[in-house]
């Protein structure tokens, strides 16, 4: 059937099962937006900035597991997507971004609103395309969705010159995709899986380190089965939170720079690390040469480039986490190991570390402690909310003091560390899950980076709860200045912070404020009652509060610093453990 390029694009999106698209119009995408005007099955959510559209698509993808989609115009519209693409790329999130482009005959002429977006985004996408002919459009869209959602997922950009969307062509939906150079490997190698299982059987002090790959491959069930079968304590990276229940007896919480004492000590004193869907980035390993010095390392990842990129690996297993874990569980079930007896001493030691230094802060009945706010959000939502975060202290406290029991409920920019991510991501999450309680735990700095999206949330009646931990500072940078730069607070004092209650009200949202500890719970309760519009909760918190424990940059992860109550840590001696 003959159709315009714009109509073909929308038909393709429907064939891919897309229900919501985030976007922003402009000159060269007018044809697409004109088709959307009458479209019933597919809804475009107009954001107030293209960066917001991409983060929203990203948030949508993280909670739903489906591909998130954004459509924006050329030039500045396209360049505004770069941060969103880089964010999704670092965290392996499947999104497809369509950018308008000047007509093919004008490409390269420095035409109005022209940018070489394919060139610009080459290093921050999984792949990108420029469609030069309307006859290639349907195939390209099909390939874009396929590449974004398979293997190690990631963002794909499709650049659409105006004459391609305005032109007409035959709509033929390709039945299948075949890309010569792209064949992700899902099944793990049998021999490698057996080796990995053998390492688990041999290990006396094993630790499972679970990352975002567990969530991306929907392998939480398998991870839980493996951990509970073999009685191995589990720590999660920031991206892995929710991949294993945070309230499970075997959970040690997050590891790394702001990880728990228990997780970092267990990793450093382990004799086996089973890395599952993790890429051992610097925030997790600390000084790499002293990372888990006595441990053998098994690494399971679908992306071969993640293996041995930063640290030595003894047993690599390339494959999809879910497939590989299933294979390993089968292997391990056949062993006659008495797991409980074997692990008893090691788990006791882990418990001891947990009791020795749990995550902690000094409660103050007068001044609001930011950790207290997060704890109360956890209690009042019964741990069942979708939590988005910005980046910095707010992100770390949200990671530490909320326990994530289920996957796809924790949305945070882990790799790129994008301030301004959380709020638009919350919009995407709420669009995907209208009935969920969605929070954005924010700082007063980062919320201002995409605050314009309040309009998007208001007009779509999204009851997102934004908890601003307002310390009038760029807190995490300030913390580094306090600890490592002699308290020289260069440009981290925000000085003028807007009245967030009034900002919210100006947009037609609800604004609430808590200035004392006693006001925290009533404010959260009030916010939870609001069902048809976003709410800003301005928590005026103690500006001096810091995130602890902390591993200074370049240190090993057992070289943690703690709050004011400094104590000498006991050196762990593995010979103390009596293995039955």
């Amino acid at each position: 059937m003959k159709m315009s390029g714009a109509e073909i694009l929308i038909e393709c999106l429907k064939k891919e099962g897309v229900k919501h698209v985030f976007g922003y119009p402009g000159g060269v995408v007018l044809n697409i937006f004109d088709v959307l005007y009458d479209e019933k099955q597919l809804k475009l959510i107009l954001t107030r900035h293209e960066q917001g559209a991409v983060h929203a698509a990203d948030g949508y993808a993280r909670v739903s597991g489906k591909v998130g989609v954004a459509i924006v115009t050329s030039g500045p519209g396209a360049t505004n997507t770069v941060t969103g693409l880089a964010t999704a790329s670092m965290d392996s999130i499947p999104i497809v971004v369509f950018t308008g482009q000047v007509p093919t005959m004008l490409i390269g002429n420095d035409a109005f609103q022209e940018a070489d977006i394919v060139g610009i985004t080459r290093p921050c996408t999984k792949h990108n395309f420029l469609v030069k002919d309307v006859k290639d459009l349907a195939v390209t869209v099909r390939e874009a969705f396929h590449i974004a959602s398979t293997g190690r997922p990631g963002p794909v950009l499709v650049d659409l010159p105006k004459d391609v969307t305005a032109g007409t062509g035959e709509f033929i939906w390709p039945k299948e995709v075949h890309i010569k150079g792209y064949n992700p490997k899902y099944e793990g190698n049998k021999w490698q899986m057996k080796q990995a299982a053998n390492e688990i059987i041999k290990a006396k002090r094993p630790v499972i380190m679970a990352g975002g790959g567990v969530i991306l491959s929907d392998a939480s069930k398998e991870l839980k089965e493996l951990a509970e079968l073999t009685k191995i304590p589990v720590t999660m990276t920031l991206m892995g939170l929710g991949g294993f229940p945070g309230t499970n007896r075997l959970s040690m919480g997050m590891l790394g720079m702001h990880g728990t004492y228990c997780a970092n000590m267990a990793v450093q004193n382990s004799d086996l690390i089973v890395g599952i869907g993790v890429r051992f980035d610097d925030r997790v390993t600390g000084r790499t040469k002293d990372f888990a010095p006595g441990a053998k390392i098994v690494q399971i990842d679908i992306d071969p480039t993640s293996i041995k990129k930063t640290i030595r690996v003894d047993v690599p297993v390339v494959g999809d986490v879910k497939h590989v874990l299933k294979g390993m569980i089968k292997e391990l079930k056949e062993s006659k190991e008495q797991w409980s007896a074997v692990r008893n001493a090691w788990l006791k030691q882990v418990d001891a570390w947990q009791k020795e230094r749990p995550l902690d802060y000094e409660h103050d009945p007068k001044v609001i402690k930011p950790q207290f706010v997060v704890e109360k959000i956890y209690e009042l939502t019964k741990g069942d909310a979708v939590i988005c975060t910005e980046v910095g202290q707010n992100q770390m406290w949200a990671a530490q003091f909320y326990k994530y029991d289920k996957p796809r409920k924790w949305l945070s920019s882990g790799g790129l560390g994008t301030m301004g991510y959380g709020f638009p991501a919350a919009i995407g999450a709420q669009m995907a899950m209208p009935d969920a309680t969605v929070f954005d735990i924010a700082g007063d700095g980062s919320i201002q980076m995409n605050i314009q999206e309040l309009a998007t949330a208001v007009i779509n009646k999204l009851p997102i709860k934004v908890a601003i931990l307002n310390n009038r500072f760029l807190g995490m940078v300030r913390q580094w200045q306090e600890l490592f730069f002699k308290e020289r607070y260069s440009h981290t004092d925000l000085d003028v912070v807007p009245d967030f209650v009034k900002v919210a009200e100006a947009y037609g949202a609800v604004g609430l404020r808590a200035e004392t500890t006693a006001e925290v719970v009533p404010v959260i309760k009030e916010a939870l009652k609001i069902k048809n519009k976003p709410v800003f909760m301005d928590f005026v918190v103690d500006w001096k509060e810091k995130v602890y424990p902390m591993v200074p940059a370049g240190a090993a992860i057992d070289e943690m610093i703690f709050g004011e109550k400094k104590e000498k840590k006991k050196k762990f001696d593995s010979s103390e453990i009596k293995i039955a």
Binding site: G119, K180, G181, D303, P304, T305, K308, K309
Partner: protein, 162 residues
């Protein structure tokens, strides 16, 4: 250590930029790169000479494999292979040296492809050893211009690396 990596890629615009970007973005160095169409006009082949320890070379080949437009990557260091490079040298010897230059060219099976009043342009092909020996010998006579193609390499059939 120096490695010769042979890469088959889709013959599409932007592919060279993807490969080059992969090297520059990760701080790997390209010593030489040559690209050309294969028998199948949809596929091009690249020969890349790069340097690095085993871990770096492993990353390079994995990263190349990860590019969607890359069809096949082979590290030729793992197999017996032959490498060739072509150079064009424009020499301007003194009148009394002209015969000697021609002799050197002959020894290296070079061909004179252009000759002027005061210059010769010599074409020669060979592996790294031959090319550098040739250049060493010709240098004293005054090289005016010098271009090289970059290496191309191919695995040998039926020969196992000892």
């Amino acid at each position: 250590m120096k490695h010769t990596i042979s890469v088959l890629v889709e013959n599409k615009f932007g592919v060279l930029a993807r490969v080059a970007g992969l090297f520059s973005g990760r701080g790997f160095n390209i010593e030489s790169l040559s690209v050309g169409e294969t028998i199948d006009p949809n596929i091009s082949s690249m020969t890349i000479i790069t340097r690095g320890d085993d871990l770096i070379i492993e990353q390079i080949t994995k990263q190349l494999n990860k590019l969607v437009d890359v069809i096949k990557v082979s590290d030729l260091m793992e197999v017996e292979h032959v490498e060739r490079e072509m150079v064009l040298v424009k020499v301007s010897p003194r009148r009394e040296d002209r015969i000697e230059v021609l002799k050197i060219a002959e020894i290296f099976r070079g061909r004179i492809i252009d000759s002027g009043h005061s210059t010769f342009t010599i074409e020669t092909t060979g592996d790294e050893g031959k090319i550098s020996a040739f250049i060493e010998l010709i240098k004293p006579f005054g090289i005016k211009e010098f271009v090289r193609t970059g290496k191309v390499a191919i695995a040998r059939e039926g020969v196992k690396k000892p």
